[in-house]
């Protein structure tokens, strides 16, 4: 179906269902309950991030997962995409279509240049070259390119901007031919409330499209070629094949994915700043990809979702929340647990993230997908058989 094998189609269908029903699935608790306030994640701003970072990491995975080239500067494309989109808002109108198209195109052009230079080296040199380019873009956006990027303040749309194509009655925020991104309807069922927002559904549809494209790339001859490069580039060269054009194409595709994500970020909230290109942002992309499972199809979506969800929950927990949650314990023990847990929550979210990341790299190099497979393997033979192909994709290392 849709040109996919049955297994891939199942995976695709799962992502489609998850993406479309997220506003319901992520709100399992009543709105005003204590659990709901902590664990519900079904509000639009967060779900948008799930979808957008999903797109970003799916694209990153096409480069790192298939070819094994670890780019440490991927956030640069995200930032460039955001800047391009905001400029379209400033110059044309708040219609998101030209903004997103331009952000993809500009990120694509940008990645042609960076990719052409960086791909002349491999291994750690490639990582450092991409890192250097990203840091350079960041520094430039912060200082010299201030007329283009508005430097420290960040680029945003002012009432004095021309907006040449803006229609008279158009919404005063990003919209899709008159349909504002911020428009939402709330469905109330007893104590539960589900918010369906136009902006989120735009991101979700983009994610579904991006995911579909990535499955097709993974299963195409082009994808095979990229895997061949990963497993043994020297041998590829001996067969008379020039690997460079393939690598460059993979790099550009993943750069365009990042540009799309950047454009969407701007479409959800029409402002952007240089810090989106900082190398910690690039590091975050790598962390998400690794956590989910590099080289697998579903891994990136999983990884970005889990990290954004945990970030949201863990950083919300503060000392009083902890005390409330542990109130059933005797005072001394309660205080002890609060003292132990406190450094890891709230402000300390990055500590938890770092530890989680290290644990994954050390014990589960295949990420959550591998973890799921191991669990499935423990509990039943049948389920391992079905995922064997996916695991092959995860760590393909044919004879060197």
């Amino acid at each position: 179906m849709l040109g996919l094998t049955r297994k891939d189609f199942t995976l695709f269908a799962i992502v489609v269902v998850l993406a479309l029903l997220a506003p319901v699935l992520l709100n399992p608790f009543p709105v005003n309950s204590a659990l709901g306030q902590t664990f519900n994640a079904g509000y639009p701003a967060l779900m948008q991030r799930f979808a957008i970072f999903g797109i970003l990491v799916v694209g990153f995975n096409i480069l790192f997962g298939l070819t094994g080239y670890l780019s440490f500067g991927h956030a640069a494309f995200l930032g460039v995409g955001s800047y391009a989109a905001v400029w379209m808002f400033k110059l044309l109108s708040f219609n998101i279509v030209p903004a997103i198209i331009l952000s993809v195109v500009v990120a694509g052009l940008f990645s042609v240049v960076i990719g052409f230079v960086s791909l002349r080296r491999s291994g750690i040199y490639f990582s450092i070259l991409t890192l250097a380019f990203a840091q350079m873009s960041y520094a430039l956006a912060y200082s010299v390119l201030t007329p283009l990027t508005n430097g420290e303040t960040g680029l945003q749309v002012y009432p004095s901007d021309p907006q040449y194509l803006a229609a008279a009655g158009a919404p005063s925020g990003p919209h899709f031919f008159g349909l504002p991104m911020a428009q939402a309807t709330t469905l109330r069922l007893g104590d539960w409330a589900f918010t369906f927002q136009v902006g989120y559904y735009l991101c979700a549809i983009m994610l579904i499209a991006a995911f579909y494209l990535s499955i097709r790339i993974f299963r195409s001859p082009f994808g095979m070629m990229l895997r061949a490069i990963k497993s043994n580039q020297t041998r590829m060269n001996y067969t008379g094949l020039n690997a460079k054009p393939y690598m460059l194409r993979a790099f550009i595709i993943s750069g365009m994915y990042a540009g799309l994500a950047g454009g969407l970020l701007a479409a959800m909230d029409p402002l952007t700043g240089a810090e989106r290109m900082f190398w910690t942002a690039s590091g975050e992309i790598v962390v998400m990809a690794i956590l989910g499972g590099v080289g697998t199809l579903i891994g990136p979506v999983l990884g970005s979702g889990v990290i954004k969800y945990l970030e949201n929950i863990v950083s919300k927990i503060n000392e009083s929340v902890l005390h409330n949650a542990l109130a059933f314990l005797p005072d001394g023990i309660e205080n002890f647990f609060v003292t132990v847990i406190h450094p890891f929550v709230g402000e300390g979210w990055h500590l938890t993230l770092g530890l989680l990341f290290m644990v994954i790299v050390i014990f589960l190099p295949g990420g959550l997908v591998e973890g799921g497979q191991r669990l499935a393997g423990l509990f039943g033979r049948r389920s391992t058989a079905t995922t064997a192909a996916d695991r092959d994709a995860a760590r393909q290392s044919p004879a060197e």
């Binding site: 670890l70 080296r121 291994g123 450092i128 190398w279 690794i290 500590l351 993230l353 790299v361 050390i362």
Partner: protein, 343 residues
């Protein structure tokens, strides 16, 4: 002319820090073949050792002084460092002003231990894994170390002044026959430069003139053969990791008066130090030192107003531009050896 000398001097202190970090990175890479993204964190821990030393020395208790009263008429309470009751008030005062240099005696054991623990506890298990995995796990470790420091010391930069004797500036220009006030330079930065020169010389001497260093160099060249000669090379390499950590820690501790330590400083330096290592040539110790000073000085020149007028913003990106040019034209870096990381 005086402007040029000033910029060279300006480049020297940053260059010294780059050179020291890059030296440690190269030592680790050359001996163990590991790309250590947590090296900047070691630099940062060193800087916080200086902070800790300062806090230890000024660790005080309240003493009630019955002979004096405060403005409410109660007996005056004064904070007296424990140190003062230990060694006497005057010595204690002197030691507190010298906290940063004194922290060296704290840094060396701490960093040797941290390096040893890192290598035995974590890095050891990653020798056979791909370079990407090593980068990732050390990157994770760098985040964790930074966050631990933040949890303990808070997110704000902590001032740690240089000894009063070195805290002013010196008018170097007058010694060289320029106008007064043409080349004014903070003394501590000169001290830092001399200090790093001594450390670099010591590391090279250690590798060049001791039996231990000779074995390590042999191991770097051909690990297997050295192992076959019945030498436990792994043990020595572990020690080299500790040494590299100590070098980074010393660089950080002495840098504390120049940039107030904060939990992020390691990351800022790490990215640049990696660029330095790559420019110098992966695995080449002299290359790392040379590239460190070179890039530091280049950065100094690029921040001259005359240069910035022609190429605005060049000071922000000069290091990256140089790195890109070097990597594309001389892939091995300035002094890289053949066959190191060329896959």
């Amino acid at each position: 002319m005086d402007a040029i000398i000033l910029q060279i001097l300006n480049g020297l202190d940053k260059g010294s820090a780059y050179a020291l970090i890059a030296l440690g990175l190269t030592l680790i890479f050359g001996t163990l073949g590991v790309v250590n993204f947590a090296h900047g964190a070691l630099f940062m821990i060193g800087a916080f050792c200086a902070v800790t030393m300062q806090r230890l020395l000024t660790w005080s208790h309240l003493v009630v002084d019955p002979t004096r009263t405060d403005f409410l008429g109660n007996p005056m309470q004064t904070e007296v460092p424990y140190l003062a009751s230990l060694v006497g008030v005057d010595t204690a005062q002197a030691m507190i002003t010298w906290a940063v240099p004194l922290s060296i005696i704290l840094v060396i054991p701490v960093m040797l231990f941290v390096g040893w623990a890192m290598e035995r506890g974590l890095i050891k298990h990653f020798y056979k894994r791909p370079h990407a995995d090593q980068i990732l796990v050390t990157f994770g470790l760098a985040i964790v170390l930074g966050e631990i420091i933040r949890a303990v010391y808070g997110a704000n930069p902590i001032q740690s002044p240089a000894p009063a004797m070195f805290s002013g500036s010196v008018d170097i220009g007058t010694y060289l026959g320029f106008q007064p006030n043409a080349v004014v330079y903070p003394i501590w930065r000169l001290v830092y430069f001399c200090f790093s020169a001594v450390i670099i010389a010591a590391v090279f001497a250690f590798l060049q003139f001791t039996t231990f260093g000779m074995v390590v160099r042999a191991g770097m060249a051909d690990r297997e053969t050295v192992g076959m000669l019945g030498i436990d090379i792994d043990k020595r390499f572990t020690l080299m990791f500790g040494l590299a950590a100590a070098v980074a820690g010393l660089a950080g501790a002495m840098y504390a008066p120049i940039v107030s330590p904060n939990y992020n400083m390691g990351m800022d330096f790490l990215v640049l130090s990696f660029v330095v290592v790559v420019v110098g040539g992966m695995g080449s110790l002299p290359g790392a030192v040379l590239a460190g000073f070179l890039l530091g000085i280049l950065q100094g020149f690029a921040s001259m107003n005359e240069v910035k007028a022609i190429l605005p913003g060049i000071d922000q990106i000069i290091i990256y531009v140089v790195a890109i040019i070097i990597l594309l034209t001389r892939p091995r870096g300035l002094m890289g050896r053949a066959g190191v990381m060329e896959d």
